[in-house]
């Protein structure tokens, strides 16, 4: 009789622990994530992890580069500036990591070059360098001339947005992130590329997801 009680108790404990383990796991729709729905173990988080940024960048760049608009009419590279990338989620996110990766990938594609003269990545160096034209200290043949800065053709803007929802029985919650990027042709005002990469994460509703 005692043995039966012990077996039942241990089984219950093991089942209880197993259930807890499963419920605390966050499942991600991101195939690159170690917590993707196909992978049982691995680092899991409701937040945006490196694998999510990697995936969002890959999907965004693929969308842009595979578009016929990525080839500049008349040849050469598009000159691109960044506008604001808004983090409209409940997670503190360094959007610079995201924009740097996109810039690197698009530059490596051979079709785009980014400007630091305009947009949110503008540096003061460009205008400050022109101030050297008035300085007797500098060899004037080595200072940057006026009229040499290249104006951008395109502007990238975007946002990371989020939709949070809870299952009917309040046991599970879902956090859906949308990595939304658009590229506008500055001359025409037309949006020539647009990419929207969703990543959904599902897990226990025990705590808030941030």
């Amino acid at each position: 009789m005692n043995k039966i009680v012990k077996i039942v108790a241990i089984t219950t404990l093991v089942l209880g622990l197993t259930a807890c383990g499963v419920s605390s796991q966050v499942k991600s729709s991101n195939p690159l994530s170690s917590s993707s729905k196909e992978v049982v173990t691995g680092f899991s988080s409701f937040g945006i992890v490196d694998a999510d940024i990697h995936y969002a960048v890959r999907e965004t760049v693929n969308t842009f580069v595979s578009s016929p608009n990525s080839i500049k009419p008349g040849g050469g590279r598009w000159i691109v500036q960044y506008e604001e990338i808004t983090n409209d989620t409940v997670i503190d996110l360094n959007t610079k990591i995201l924009t740097n990766k996109i810039r690197n990938e698009l530059t490596n594609s051979g079709r785009f070059l980014f400007t630091a003269a305009t947009g949110t990545e503008r540096t003061n160096t460009i205008s400050e360098a022109r101030d050297l034209q008035d300085s007797e200290l500098f060899d004037q043949s080595t200072t940057a001339s006026n009229g040499t800065v290249v104006a951008p053709d395109l502007s990238i803007f975007g946002a990371v947005r989020q939709q949070l929802s809870v299952s009917q029985d309040a046991q599970q919650q879902q956090s859906a992130y949308y990595f939304q990027f658009s590229v506008v042709d500055i001359a025409s005002g037309l949006i020539i590329f647009s990419a929207d990469t969703p990543i959904t994460k599902e897990g226990s509703n025990q705590n808030y997801s941030w």
Partner: protein
């Protein structure tokens, strides 16, 4: 004899444990509360100094939620926005639990676990409305710092908490009722029901401070919805103001009265006129509600028709205090109290009150039985001293184990007023609090927020002005 010796040793051990617990945990809580109360008498900077050293480093227990809430608000009141957010971030890490998931398993354990001790001995786990207010102040702090990126994240968290707060409150209430049904057998229910009926009036007095006609939706902080809407309409981000009508709809539908409904309409109107500029005034008035202990002598049936009286310690909700009798913004289009913390805190207090009463009654019942048994065991001892000692031991144990949890976030304001005024060509906004006039210089070409705090009737006023979009540190007025 051996049995009696064991009982004496056990009684002594329990007493020692109770003294230890009594001396450490509730003592610390009392110390924190007393020190805080003393410091706030002198002013905002003095209260903040309790939680930051001269180098601006944190001076609080980073794992004590109760202290973190007091610290975060004190630092906020003094205008230490960054330091306030550090404390609130630590507080928020402990307020991530969701009440719609505080189901019977967890809540029952928490309740049963302290049935024989008292709530004040357990770590402070916070309230639903406190999570709402933490995110509200974090967002306001970042707005004052001119960091709209982080303010947006906090407003989103606030929105998420606000949207689930009343649902969570309902589920929390259900979970607590389930615990009651699971934790008492029918005999206990009957006995305790008889006892409770005799002191029903005293039990109900614990709720007398809660505003009448309170409702669940008041757990939503209306000033949070309004400020969130103002932020989303005026910030530098593009295309993220789609939530504004929904936020203002919440503010209208949960308005405390017709004045606060009119204010929501005026603010919506102001946000619709992008070519006109407005100044929004937020005034935090007074100190919020607090909790005291309400000790009741509960009659518990003993032998037949006899009763023994046993002390029960229940929490009692007390209304907060206003610091002013009037607040005016000269020329304001609209002005009203938007949030009453008594409603927010009161509705959550009310939701859990019956469960707390039941728990206290069960604890009293069990302690009465234990005390009765121990006393009976020693009453026929040859040495009368043994009986006396046993009585003293059990009485001390019962006394130490009977304490209500009176922890509450007491430095919240009592009420939050808001006003909206069109800038036109005005370079100043004149605010009158009682007989005091505060003239605030504004940039009439931008939208602005003026944040005013007056905690005590005879205390000072703090005021700051921030332009919207917020791109740099808010300017201190006084």
């Amino acid at each position: 004899m051996r049995t009696k010796l064991n009982i004496i040793i056990q009684a002594a051990s329990i007493s020692s444990l109770c003294f230890f617990l009594g001396a450490c945990v509730p003592g610390n809580i009392k110390l924190v509360a007393d020190q805080h109360e003393q410091a706030t008498l002198f002013g905002y900077d003095e209260a903040a100094a309790l939680y930051r050293n001269k180098n601006g480093e944190p001076n609080y227990n980073s794992s004590d939620l109760y202290q973190l809430l007091l610290a975060g608000k004190s630092l906020h009141d003094a205008g230490y926005w960054n330091e306030s957010n550090m404390a609130f971030q630590l507080a928020e890490n402990q307020l991530l639990w969701k009440a719609d998931k505080v189901d019977t398993a967890n809540e029952a354990l928490a309740l049963v676990g302290t049935t024989l001790t008292n709530d004040a001995m357990s770590a402070y786990s916070g309230k639903i409305y406190e999570g709402v207010m933490v995110n509200y102040y974090q967002a306001l702090n970042y707005l004052m710092l001119g960091d709209e990126d982080k303010a947006l994240v906090r407003f989103n968290r606030l929105g998420e908490r606000q949207s689930t707060a009343s649902v969570q409150l309902r589920r929390y209430e259900t979970a607590l009722n389930n615990v009651k049904q699971e934790s008492m057998n029918s005999n206990q229910t009957e006995v305790l029901g008889t006892s409770a009926r005799q002191v029903r009036g005293e039990i109900n007095s614990g709720l007398s401070g809660i505003p009448s006609s309170n409702k669940r939706s008041y757990i939503r902080n209306q000033s949070g919805d309004v400020l969130h809407a103002i932020f989303r309409s005026t910030n530098e981000k593009k295309g993220d103001d789609w939530q504004v009508p929904k936020l203002l709809q919440h503010a209208r539908s949960n308005a405390l009265d017709s004045d606060s409904r009119s204010l929501a309409v005026s603010i919506e109107d102001s946000l619709g006129h992008k070519n006109k500029k407005y100044t929004y005034v937020i005034y935090e008035d007074g100190t919020g509600p607090y909790v005291t202990e309400n000790r009741i002598d509960l009659p518990i049936p003993s032998n037949g028709s006899e009763f023994i009286y046993f002390g029960v310690a229940l929490p009692k909700f007390n209304k907060g205090q206003n610091s002013s009798y009037s607040f005016e913004v000269l020329g304001a289009k609209s002005r009203s109290v938007v949030t009453n913390i008594n409603n927010m805190a009161g509705i959550e207090f009310q939701s859990s009150y019956n469960a707390k009463v039941d728990k206290a009654l069960i604890a009293a019942f069990l302690k009465a039985i234990a005390q009765h048994e121990i006393n009976k065991e020693f009453s026929d001892d040859d040495d009368p001293l043994v009986g006396i000692l046993a009585n003293v031991f059990t009485a001390v144990v019962a006394q130490e184990l009977t304490k209500a949890d009176v922890r509450a976030w007491t430095n919240l304001p009592n009420r939050i007023h808001m006003a909206v005024i069109q800038n036109e060509n005005n370079s100043n906004v004149d605010i009158e609090i009682d007989d005091k006039n505060i003239s605030v210089a504004i940039n009439s070409n931008t939208n602005n927020i003026i944040y005013v705090r007056k905690a005590r009737a005879n205390g000072n006023v703090k005021a700051f002005v921030q332009t919207l979009p917020a791109t740099s540190l808010a300017r201190k007025i006084m």
